[in-house]
């Protein structure tokens, strides 16, 4: 069996999906790409058993055939081959020979029948959204996802579908992000949790434009389709915590600050904070916001003051500066509004102005100040 393909185009397609493959796998075949040629269409598949990615491209080939080729060596070689047509020939023992203008390379492939089967998309519901909308949603939520395997429900982004909106929620129990879009319409009211890894892969594989993508799901899997590129992943089988009850409805004190100034001050102050807690104390009174951090172990200390717009009682409250910095990055506006109540209750962070059809709410729990 034989096929001819452009080296640069093949590399481009492989790199789109190569992120699925883990460095250390249990099954050796998971280090391979599956090449599947049907009617001059080459489908390439990569999987880690949880997430499957598939891309399609055109090739020159007389017959239909399948083979598994080790991923790392294939990508490494393609990176160093100048753009040209490559001829792949595979014998019955799945030995792969690649012929270029420069020479011949041989790798040992594997039997494609041993490659894990993709989950079948049956019993699915579907909706569509633009590629850019999905990327934005991922960018605004993924950073808040927990990495604590003991609470699996929080290790992914919670998708909450509705007739007239979609909500993306991520939390690690210390902070929470809720991003809502009203320009997406889903036929059913449903919810599921998507793990971190496939979302990260989507963020890199999808284009930042208005291409329409189709998202389907059933009780176990999520299927995302963009043209001929497809990602399938297993959903997290756990119950997402009841996040609605922890969002305070009536935080009375409002603090409005310039986003870049606030973020800059936090970044500078955070250098002097304790490296494990990143604790920064905010002291708000009148129109002045004081920031202070210290690391007693090394006798580091940082203090700053900045102007703000605040209506409320004088308040001292401590937060993890890293959380605040990350949240501020997710807010697009020049100014942010922080809604506070007492030093032990959640603070809410919102951009002062939101795009039409979008709603972003971020919540952060304070660090307890010893009285």
């Amino acid at each position: 069996m034989k096929f001819i393909v452009s080296s640069s185009s093949l590399l481009k397609h492989l790199q789109q999906i190569s992120g699925v493959i883990n460095a250390n796998t249990v099954l050796p075949i998971l280090e391979d790409f599956l090449f599947d040629i049907t009617d001059k269409k080459l489908n390439i598949v990569a999987t880690d058993l949880e997430t499957v990615m598939r891309v399609q491209m055109d090739v020159e080939s007389q017959e239909n055939s399948r083979v598994c080729i080790p991923a790392k060596i294939l990508i490494d070689s393609l990176k160093n081959i100048p753009d040209q047509p490559l001829t792949f020939s595979i014998d019955k023992n799945f030995a792969v020979e690649i012929t270029s203008d420069n020479g011949k390379y041989k790798v040992m492939g594997e039997n494609p029948d041993n490659f894990p089967k993709e989950p079948v998309a049956d019993d699915t519901n579907s909706f569509t959204m633009t590629s850019r909308a999905l990327i934005t949603a991922i960018n605004k939520t993924l950073f808040a996802v927990s990495s604590d395997d003991l609470r699996p429900a929080m290790t992914g982004v919670y998708f909450e579908l509705n007739k007239d909106a979609i909500q993306f929620v991520a939390t690690d129990a210390h902070r929470l992000v809720r991003y809502r879009r009203t320009d997406v319409h889903c036929p059913n009211q449903d919810s599921f949790i998507v793990p971190k890894k496939p979302l990260n892969l989507l963020r890199n594989a999808l284009p930042d434009n208005d291409d329409e993508i189709t998202i389907s799901y059933n009780s176990n899997h999520l299927f995302v389709m963009h043209g001929t590129t497809q990602l399938t992943c297993r959903l997290i089988d756990a119950r997402f915590p009841d996040y609605k009850v922890v969002i305070p409805q009536d935080n009375p004190y409002k603090l409005v600050v310039n986003k870049n100034d606030f973020q800059g001050a936090l970044r500078r102050i955070n250098v002097f904070s304790n490296k494990s807690t990143n604790q920064v104390a905010l002291n708000i009174s009148g129109s002045e916001l004081k920031l202070a951090a210290q690391d007693v172990d090394f006798s580091f200390e940082g203090h700053e003051r900045m102007n703000c717009n605040y209506n409320g009682e004088d308040l001292q409250i401590a937060f993890n500066a890293k959380f605040l910095i990350e949240m501020l990055s997710a807010a697009d506006d020049d100014e942010v509004r922080v809604e506070l109540s007492t030093p032990t209750k959640a603070g809410i962070l919102k951009p002062t102005e939101q795009e039409e059809g979008e709603d972003l709410l971020m919540l952060v729990m304070p660090l307890m100040l010893n009285s």
């Binding site: 604590d148 939390t171 129990a173 210390h174 929470l176 915590p241 922890v246 304790n274 494990s276 807690t277 604790q279 690391d295 007693v296 172990d297 401590a318 993890n320 032990t344 209750k345 959640a346 919540l363 729990m365 304070p366 660090l367 307890m368 100040l369 010893n370 009285s371």
Partner: protein
């Protein structure tokens, strides 16, 4: 060897430290046999005066036996708070006077005076420091100056009490040679016995044994021992560091398998050290539970957790660890709880697990404890009336 030729290390050791402190607090004890340690039947002697040592008493001996050996000795209950207070006082004096020091224990210090010889003369400087410590604290201290930690420590032990000595560079071997091998730190009962059986009694003999032979006998430790016997020790003086863990343990008056009692005790100990943790504005990232069975078999188990100082979380983790650890249905002699991986900071509130009520309760409890002392407020589950525990808090009775 270039390094060690240039080093000047003083080892300072407070003479019968606990006894000296007790004598300061009660001058009547001076010149009398004094025993310090636990008062109960199972207590041991933590320290004893030179007068008591004449009767064959040594630290580590059971209090019962010590009292039998010297019935007229004054027995004083150990008060570690007072001892650490005096220890800090001495540490402060040393800290103010020298560039680099290591606090090896509550009453021992290594001071690196390397380079000071050009200015003051190390011996003169050590001597002045000694006088300063005696003047400031009223405690007697001995020191020895040598070219490494090992020799200075051995020399200090030789000149105690209230002595001083300098072992000039090059004379380490001459100094160590006539001494008994038991004087070398690290040679305990077991190694000592094995060596004595071979006829090795003095350090001189030990230093002449080929290193291969010692390796065959004692493994890697044999190589180190060979170096020690030859007066070679390159370990540096490590500056005093803050405590990296905090813990407590309890030996029961009689061994027990009462799981309810053990749980109560765990809750009490956890509450106690968690409060201490919060008082120091620290958080722990690792919990360790230890149990010792009646046959002295000791086992421990630890668990990494998110940094916290919250009682509820810590008590839960401690109980989990204990349940995983105690599977033998055997009498327990001792249990202990320890928090390691300490960092400074305060608790990050969890939005799902920490309710506002729990936070408020915590804050209220801590402020009461701070004002009146932590022994007056505790969880009911930690409160018990049991003779099996020496320090058990007693429920209030009218």
């Amino acid at each position: 060897m270039v390094l060690s030729s240039a080093r000047h290390i003083t080892h300072m050791d407070l003479d019968t430290f606990f006894v000296s402190v007790e004598c300061l607090r009660n001058p009547k004890l001076k010149g009398k046999p004094v025993l310090i340690g636990g008062m109960s039947d199972r207590g041991v002697v933590a320290s004893c005066s030179y007068e008591a040592r004449k009767f064959g008493i040594h630290s580590g001996m059971a209090m019962k036996i010590a009292k039998r050996l010297c019935s007229h000795a004054h027995v004083v209950k150990s008060d570690y708070e007072a001892y650490s207070k005096y220890s800090r006082l001495v540490t402060d004096v040393i800290k103010d006077s020298v560039p680099l020091y290591e606090k090896a224990s509550i009453d021992e210090f290594y001071i690196d005076l390397t380079g000071m010889d050009k200015f003051f003369g190390c011996l003169k400087y050590s001597d002045e420091l000694k006088k300063k410590i005696v003047k400031e604290s009223g405690l007697s201290i001995s020191y020895a100056l040598a070219s490494n930690k090992l020799v200075s420590k051995v020399a200090t032990n030789e000149v105690k009490p209230n002595g001083q000595l300098e072992i000039p560079f090059g004379n380490e071997k001459t100094f160590l040679s006539p001494l008994s091998i038991m004087k070398i730190p690290g040679i305990g009962k077991e190694t000592g016995y094995r060596l004595l059986k071979m006829g090795v009694e003095t350090v001189k003999t030990l230093s002449e044994i080929p290193v291969n032979m010692l390796y065959n006998l004692l493994g890697k430790w044999g190589i180190e021992l060979h170096r020690k016997a030859n007066g070679i020790d390159e370990t540096p003086v490590i500056p005093y560091r803050e405590q990296k863990s905090i813990g407590t343990e309890e030996t029961f008056t009689t061994d027990t398998i009462d799981v309810k009692l053990l749980h109560q005790e765990l809750v009490r100990m956890t509450e106690k050290i968690a409060f201490e943790l919060r008082s120091q504005e620290k958080l722990t990232g690792c919990v360790v539970v230890k149990i010792r069975y009646s046959d002295f078999q000791t086992e421990q188990k630890q668990m990494t957790i998110d940094y916290t100082a919250f009682d509820d979380i810590l008590i839960q983790k401690v109980k989990e660890l204990f349940t995983g650890l105690y599977t033998k249905r055997q009498l327990i002699r001792l249990i202990g709880v320890r928090f390691t991986d300490l960092i400074s900071g305060t608790h990050q509130i969890d939005m799902f697990n920490d309710s506002q009520e729990a936070i408020k309760l915590h804050q209220a409890m801590d402020s009461i404890k701070k004002q009146f002392g932590q022994q007056y407020l505790m969880r009911a589950s930690a409160c018990m009336d049991n003779k099996n525990i020496t320090h058990a808090p007693k429920p209030y009775k009218t």
